[in-house]
């Protein structure tokens, strides 16, 4: 089963590497991984999509927690959450299909972000399943290039009780 894990890490040298290395060293599945700034200075949020049975996911969470740079790990799979992914998809087109492509784009509430006389680039945002659906529809037209951001996710707001407590430091 797929799990979406969100973790807060120190924005320090090599923190991203440590997470990625841990996945390969332990042989865990890694479907997507993203990293970016947060509202807190010096802390980055990583969103990881992984899969495995309960024992494996348990280990993934514990191994992530074990990394010194990890401040907090949330397995969002159990929570009510918002998940989004962004895809840029460039499709080749022949005469006559441009309207069809624009219709598809509208159905997926995408944006046309680039166009020339051979190809059109769509920006589609949404849950990963929606992106997959868009990709499937566009495939027969001939996808020239595609870039997917990987999943970013957050718990829904009402679940956040004491957001700052877990960020307290230990005196050494």
């Amino acid at each position: 089963m797929k799990h979406t894990i969100s973790l807060l890490v120190e924005n320090s040298f090599g923190a991203f590497d440590r997470v990625a290395t841990m996945f390969s060293a332990k042989g865990f599945n890694l479907h997507s991984i993203t990293i970016g700034e947060t509202e807190i200075r010096d802390i980055s949020r990583m969103t990881i999509v992984t899969s495995g049975d309960d024992q494996i996911i348990g280990q993934v969470v514990k191994q992530l927690n074990r990394l010194i740079d990890t401040v907090k790990v949330y397995d969002l799979t159990k929570n009510d959450r918002t998940e989004r992914e962004l895809a840029l998809i460039t499709v080749l087109y022949q005469k006559g299909v441009l309207e069809e492509l624009k219709n598809i784009n509208d159905i997926f509430r995408g944006k046309v972000v680039d166009i020339n006389n051979k190809s059109i680039t769509l920006e589609i945002t949404g849950p990963p399943a929606k992106i997959n659906a868009a990709v499937n529809v566009l495939l027969p037209y001939g996808i020239k290039e595609m870039a997917r951001s990987g999943t970013v996710a957050l718990r829904r707001g009402e679940q956040i009780k004491q957001p700052k407590k877990e960020l307290e430091s230990t005196k050494v």
Partner: protein, 571 residues
């Protein structure tokens, strides 16, 4: 707070070591660390041991750390100096040994340029360190060193690498030492969950066939007295892992010896038949469990460990308790509602003991390692500090030496690093003054870090180096005989082995060799009396000897091999 003054990175380095109460550093100088060595020339609060190869330095630091419980410190230069430490770091990671390895690095502006003696040691060691730091600002040096020592020694201990670019060591800054350093993401949990502990106590009290399975965590948390007291109070059988030996005296009637691949027959039978298995500071390693599906299959499993990742990693347990074994044992003892009634269980265990004791045959008059180790155990009354290498002799030490005290068997358990014993014994000798220190290696492992004999001589360390020479890579030979069609592929060292006595003598080490049973005691007594420097003793033993019992890799207890399948193979 100290008054601020201009300090170089090297000054800050030594001031930090002083604040960590470091008394000894194992190192080797080089281009990137010259400034540190320049300062070291006038430093008198710590001793620097010049090794002959950086791998030796890491094993010495491990030996020192394992024997004393303090953090071992290594100081090496960049590039090859750093990469030579890798095996020792991996070894420390597997056996949870607190060491801090300072590596020189090329100046910051040259990093990534394939500069002379550059290696990405942080990248190389990432999966084999508890944590690592690259110092990129000299103002961060002191807090980094503080964190490195704290991380190495706390929680489940482990190795930490601190990479020091040359410009960080050389540059100056106004620096004030702060007494308080903060870490955000690292909070080891020492106190076990009280309700879990109470539940465990109830289950142990109600057990008919309980067994304590004790690992290295008990040794390194200094919980051996608590463990022994707990076991004695409730008359509980104790089986130990390789790293757990010494947790309870080997001569105690509650001691079952080691379990696992080369564990005692009765230990493994007890694991197979127990109804409650209490794992204390052990990690269900594959050399202990064999086939996981059949390991203690009938038992309710309680697992106490300070590292949450150890829980449910190899074997799913019924009751996990994350915490410091020492604290958990104290709580457990006071929570026990009653003593379990286990007289029948002891009867069974004793029957297994009689059914299949540890034994060996020396009726052909030829010398065996088992005999040497038995004699050594008697002559030192189980009180020596034994530093073992890896292979057959290691398993035989675990079987035949009766360890009286914790921290008295040092060896490479997880990684199985040949060449560990010789330097680790040297390292231990700087921290331990009240025990005889005996390094025991096979002829293969002895040659892997033989260069450190020079370090032993230079520092007149009173280590007794024993080589058990069977002219073979004995354990590999054993597997070749049992599982690889008797193809003794590249394990015969006999024709090319050096004359170990001459090697010792070339370095000025008093050295002896024998293959005679009746000379064993005399020669052992001789080296045990030499306390002003190293000594060397080679025993030439039967090359075809094997270690039994043996549970084949990945096998169940029922697959245990108790004796040579075909005795005729013995030449």
């Amino acid at each position: 707070m100290a008054k601020s003054k201009k300090l170089t990175g090297a000054d800050i380095f030594f001031e930090s070591l002083k604040r960590e109460n470091v008394e000894i550093v194992f190192g080797y100088p080089g281009g990137a660390t010259l400034k540190i060595y320049e300062k070291l020339y006038d430093i008198d609060f710590l001793k620097h041991i010049l090794v002959r190869h950086e791998q030796g330095a890491t094993h010495m630091a491990e030996g020192y750390a394992k024997a004393t419980g303090k953090v071992g410190v290594v100081l090496v230069t960049s590039g090859p100096g750093a990469t030579n430490t890798v095996t020792g770091i991996a070894d420390a990671y597997m056996d949870s040994v607190p060491i801090v390895v300072f590596t020189g690095q090329v100046p910051t502006h040259l990093i990534g340029n394939d500069a002379f003696q550059e290696a990405d040691i942080i990248g190389i060691t990432r999966p084999i360190t508890k944590h690592s730091f690259l110092v990129r600002d000299v103002n961060e040096l002191a807090p980094t060193i503080r964190k490195a020592f704290y991380i190495a020694a706390s929680g489940r201990p482990g190795p930490v690498v601190v990479d020091l670019p040359k410009d960080m060591i050389n540059s100056e800054c106004d620096y004030e030492f702060s007494e308080t350093i903060f870490i955000r993401g690292y909070k080891p949990n020492y106190n076990g969950h009280l309700n879990q502990i109470r539940k465990a106590a109830k289950i142990i009290a109600g057990a008919k066939k309980p067994l304590l399975y004790v690992g290295g965590g008990v040794i390194m948390s200094d919980s051996a007295p608590e463990l022994t007291a707990f076991a004695r109070e409730y008359n509980l059988p104790v089986t130990m892992t390789l790293l757990g030996l010494g947790a309870i005296p080997g001569t105690d009637k509650l001691s079952m010896g080691m379990l696992g691949m080369h564990g005692t027959y009765w230990s493994n039978q007890a694991v197979n038949n127990c109804d409650v298995l209490v794992s204390l500071g052990a990690r269900f390693d594959d050399r202990v469990t064999g086939k996981v599906e059949t390991f203690a299959a009938k038992a309710y499993k309680i697992h106490v460990d300070i590292d949450p990742t150890a829980i449910d990693k190899n074997v799913l347990v019924d009751l996990p308790i994350v915490g410091d074994v020492k604290k958990v044992l104290e709580e457990l003892k006071s929570a026990m509602p009653a003593a379990p009634q286990i007289d029948d269980w002891w009867e069974k265990i004793n029957a297994w003991k009689e059914e299949c004791p540890l034994e060996y045959d020396m009726s052909d008059g030829r010398l065996r390692a088992q005999y040497i180790l038995e004699r050594l155990s008697d002559l030192t009354e189980g009180n020596a500090l034994i530093v073992s290498d890896v292979g057959q002799h290691q398993m035989l030490i675990a079987q035949y030496y009766k360890f009286n005290n914790p921290r008295s068997l040092l060896n490479s358990g997880g990684l199985g690093t040949m060449g560990f014993s010789l330097p680790a014994a040297i390292g231990a000798s700087f921290g331990v003054k009240d025990k005889q220190i005996i390094s025991i290696s096979g002829d293969g492992g002895f040659q892997m870090n033989m260069q450190e004999l020079i370090t032993a001589v230079a520092n007149k360390v009173p280590v007794k180096f024993i080589v058990i020479n069977n002219s073979f890579l004995g354990m590999v030979r054993q597997w070749q005989e049992l599982f690889h069609a008797e193809k003794y592929s590249f394990t015969d060292l006999g024709s090319s082995n050096p004359d170990f006595v001459k090697i010792g003598e070339a370095l000025g080490i008093p050295s002896w060799s024998t293959d005679k049973i009746d000379e064993v005691d005399t020669l052992l007594e001789k080296v045990l009396d030499i306390n002003d420097g190293p000594s060397l003793l080679e025993f030439k033993v039967v090359k075809e000897e094997m270690v039994f019992p043996m549970v084949p890799s990945g096998g169940s207890i029922s697959d245990m091999i108790l004796e040579r399948l075909n005795p005729k193979r013995m030449v």
